[in-house]
C-alpha cells in the first residue's frame, strides 16, 4: 500500500535533456522559475509556455506522464484560481449574490494558472530527466563555492543521496511491519485520532529500530571502505560540461533576455 509513493520520479530515457549536465538543468530550472515571475503580459507568458513545450518534446517524456505530477497540486491550483477570479477589483462583468467576476480577475486567474502549471511542470521535468544521484551530484558541485564559507556541501549532498536511496527500502519495510502487526490483530483503521495515533506505536518502533540498524550497518560499511568525508575525494564519473551544456546555457540567457524585453517593452 505504501509502494505507490514515488519520490525522485525519474523517467528513464536517453534524450538530449536527459544527457544534459545536472548543473545545467538546475540552473535552467532556477532561471525558468524566475522568468515566470518576471513575465507579466500575454506575450511573455506565451514565450515561456512555448519554451516549456519545446523542452518537454525534446525530453520525450510522455505528456500524460507529466500531467500526473499536476494532480498533487490540483487543489491548490483551483483555490488560487478561484481567489483571483472572485476577489480582484475592476470592471465587473458578471455579478451574483456576493460574488462578482471582473475582467482583471479573469486575467489574473488565467495568468496565475499558467504560472503555476508551468512552475510545476518545469520543476518536475527536471526530476523526470535527472536521477536523484545526478541531482545531488549537481547540487554538490553547483553549490561547491559554499565550501569557502565552511558549509559542508559534500556531506549534505551525501546525506541527501542516502536519504533518497533509503526511501524505497523503508517503505517496503513499513509495508512488512504493518502486515505483521495486522496479522497480530492490530487495528489501524478504526477509532478516533488519539486511538489511531496510539495504534501507530507497534509500527513506528520496529521501523525506527530497523532504520537505526540499517544506518549503523551502512556507517560501518562506509568506514570499512575508508570513507572519510569530502576532503580529497575524487569521483568515478566526474561531472563534465559538454558542448550541449554550453549551448543550453546560451539559449537560457537568450530566453531570459527575451522574457525581460517582452515584459518591459510590451
Amino acid at each position: 500500500m505504501f509502494r505507490d509513493i514515488t519520490l525522485g520520479q525519474y523517467y528513464p530515457g536517453q534524450s538530449i535533456i536527459h544527457r544534459l549536465d545536472p548543473r545545467t538543468k538546475l540552473l535552467w530550472t532556477l532561471v525558468y522559475i524566475v522568468s515566470l515571475f518576471v513575465a507579466d503580459n500575454k506575450y511573455a507568458y506565451g514565450a515561456s509556455v512555448l519554451a516549456l513545450a519545446a523542452v518537454i518534446i525534446l525530453s520525450s517524456v510522455p505528456f500524460t506522464h507529466m500531467l500526473k505530477g499536476l494532480k498533487a497540486v490540483l487543489v491548490i491550483l483551483i483555490i488560487s484560481v478561484l481567489f483571483n477570479l472572485f476577489l480582484t477589483d475592476g470592471r465587473v462583468l458578471v455579478s451574483f449574490w456576493i460574488f462578482k467576476i471582473t475582467l482583471e480577475g479573469i486575467r489574473r486567474a488565467v495568468f496565475m494558472a499558467v504560472r503555476l502549471v508551468c512552475l510545476i511542470l518545469g520543476a518536475s521535468l527536471m526530476t523526470y530527466t535527472t536521477t536523484p544521484n545526478q541531482l545531488t551530484d549537481g547540487i554538490e558541485r553547483g553549490l561547491g563555492f559554499l565550501k569557502l564559507i565552511r558549509v559542508p556541501v559534500h556531506e549534505i549532498a551525501m546525506m541527501m543521496s542516502i536519504a533518497l536511496r533509503f526511501i524505497p527500502i523503508l517503505t517496503e519495510e513499513l509495508d512488512k511491519i504493518i502486515k505483521a502487526q495486522t496479522a497480530r490483530g492490530a487495528d489501524l483503521e478504526s477509532g478516533n485520532f488519539i486511538k489511531r495515533a496510539k495504534a501507530m506505536t507497534p509500527i513506528l518502533i520496529p521501523l525506527f529500530v530497523s532504520a537505526f540498524r540499517r544506518a549503523g550497518d551502512l556507517a560501518q560499511a562506509m568506514e570499512a571502505r575508508c570513507y572519510h568525508g569530502g576532503r580529497g575525494r575524487t569521483r568515478m564519473n566526474p561531472l563534465s560540461m559538454a558542448g550541449r551544456d554550453y549551448a543550453a546555457i546560451i539559449i537560457m540567457f537568450a530566453y531570459l533576455g527575451g522574457i525581460i524585453v517582452l515584459s518591459v517593452l510590451l
Binding site: 511491519i177 505483521a180 502487526q181 495486522t182 496479522a183 497480530r184 492490530a186 506505536t201 507497534p202
Partner: protein, 287 residues
C-alpha cells in the same frame, strides 16, 4: 475443518497500470486440512509468501475465492478480525514485529487485540512463551537484547498467544541453528498433535518438509505443479530439479545406493526410513 483455495489469482499491480497485470499467483486451487501438516515449497519468487498472506486477508485475491470451513472469507458477513484470530501468520523474518520493552508485554499484544480479559491475556502469553522454550526468568528481557534465534521464537510466541486454529509459518527455520530448528519442529509437532492446531509451513528445506509434512504443495512461477504426499512428490526428482528444487538428502542417497545395486523400496525420503531400509537389506543378506 479446512481452508479451501479456489482458482485464486493475484497481481500486485493495480489493474490498468502501465506494466500490465503480471500475475504472481495463477489459478491456484488447493485444500488445507486441519488434521494434516501442509508444507508449501517452491523456488525463490514462486509466490509462496504471497499465497500465505491470502489466508488471513492481508492480501485480497484478484480472482477466485477462499473458503474457511465452507464459508467465503470475502463474504460480507465474514468478520476479518475473527479470521485473523483463527489463522495466525508468522512472517518470514518475524523478529521485525517486536516493539515492547520486554518480550512478555510484546507477546500480550496479540491476545489483547482480541479484546480478552487481562488475566486471560497474561496466561496465554505465558503459555506461548513457555511453549517456544523461554523460561519465566526470560519474560522481562528486552527483545532487542536477544539473539536472532531467540527473537524469532519470541515473535512466534506473539502469534501463538492468539491461540489460532491454524498456524501459518513462512520459513520459520531460516537462520536458526540445527538445535533451534529441531526444537522448533518439535514444538510445531506438539501443537499439531496435542492441541490440534492446523499447521501450514513454507520452507526451502526439502529435508525438513519430508520429515514433517503430511502433504506438500509445490509452487513454481505462481502455479501449483504438485499437490501430493511427500513420498509421491519426491519420486519426481527430475521435475523438481528442473524448477530449481531437489529431493531430500535421504532420497538422493537412496538413489545412489540403488545404482550400486542395493534393492531399496521407493519413498525413502527421511534418514530414519533409509536407515531401516538399509538394515533390512543387510538382514536379508542380499548384498
Amino acid at each position: 475443518m479446512s481452508i479451501e483455495i479456489k482458482n485464486l489469482s493475484y497481481t500486485y499491480n493495480n489493474p490498468g497500470s502501465e506494466n500490465g497485470s503480471r500475475f504472481v499467483l495463477k489459478n491456484i486451487s488447493a485444500t488445507i486440512k486441519k488434521d494434516e501438516i501442509t508444507a508449501i515449497i517452491g523456488p525463490t519468487g514462486s509466490g509462496k509468501s504471497t499465497l500465505v498472506q491470502h489466508l488471513n486477508l492481508l492480501l485480497h485475491a484478484s480472482e477466485g475465492d477462499i473458503l474457511y470451513d465452507g464459508r467465503s472469507i470475502y463474504g460480507d458477513d465474514f468478520d476479518r478480525k475473527t479470521l485473523r484470530a483463527s489463522v495466525g501468520l508468522v512472517f518470514q523474518y518475524p523478529e521485525y514485529q517486536l516493539f515492547e520493552n520486554d518480550i512478555f508485554t510484546d507477546v500480550c499484544f496479540g491476545p489483547k487485540n482480541l479484546g480478552l480479559e487481562k488475566d486471560e491475556v497474561e496466561s496465554r502469553a505465558k503459555k506461548a512463551l513457555l511453549a517456544v522454550g523461554f523460561s519465566d526468568s526470560d519474560f522481562s528481557r528486552s527483545p532487542f537484547e536477544l539473539s536472532g534465534g531467540q527473537r524469532r521464537r519470541a515473535a512466534i510466541a506473539g502469534v501463538l498467544a492468539m491461540q489460532p486454529e491454524y498456524l501459518v509459518l513462512d520459513e520459520p527455520a531460516a537462520g536458526l541453528d540445527p538445535k533451534g530448528r529441531r526444537e522448533l519442529f518439535q514444538m510445531l509437532r506438539r501443537l499439531h498433535d496435542e492441541n490440534g492446531v492446523g499447521i501450514v509451513l513454507v520452507s526451502h528445506s526439502m529435508d525438513d518438509v519430508a520429515d514433517f509434512a503430511g502433504k506438500i504443495l509445490v509452487l513454481n512461477d505462481g502455479r501449483v505443479i504438485f499437490d501430493d504426499t511427500p513420498e509421491r512428490i519426491f519420486s519426481h526428482g527430475e521435475e523438481l530439479r528442473t524448477v530449481g528444487l531437489d529431493v531430500p538428502q535421504a532420497a538422493r542417497l537412496a538413489e545412489i545406493l540403488r545404482e550400486y545395486g542395493f534393492d531399496l523400496p521407493q519413498g525413502l525420503i527421511t534418514m530414519d526410513r533409509l536407515r531401516t531400509a538399509i538394515t533390512d537389506c543387510f538382514n536379508r543378506g542380499d548384498k
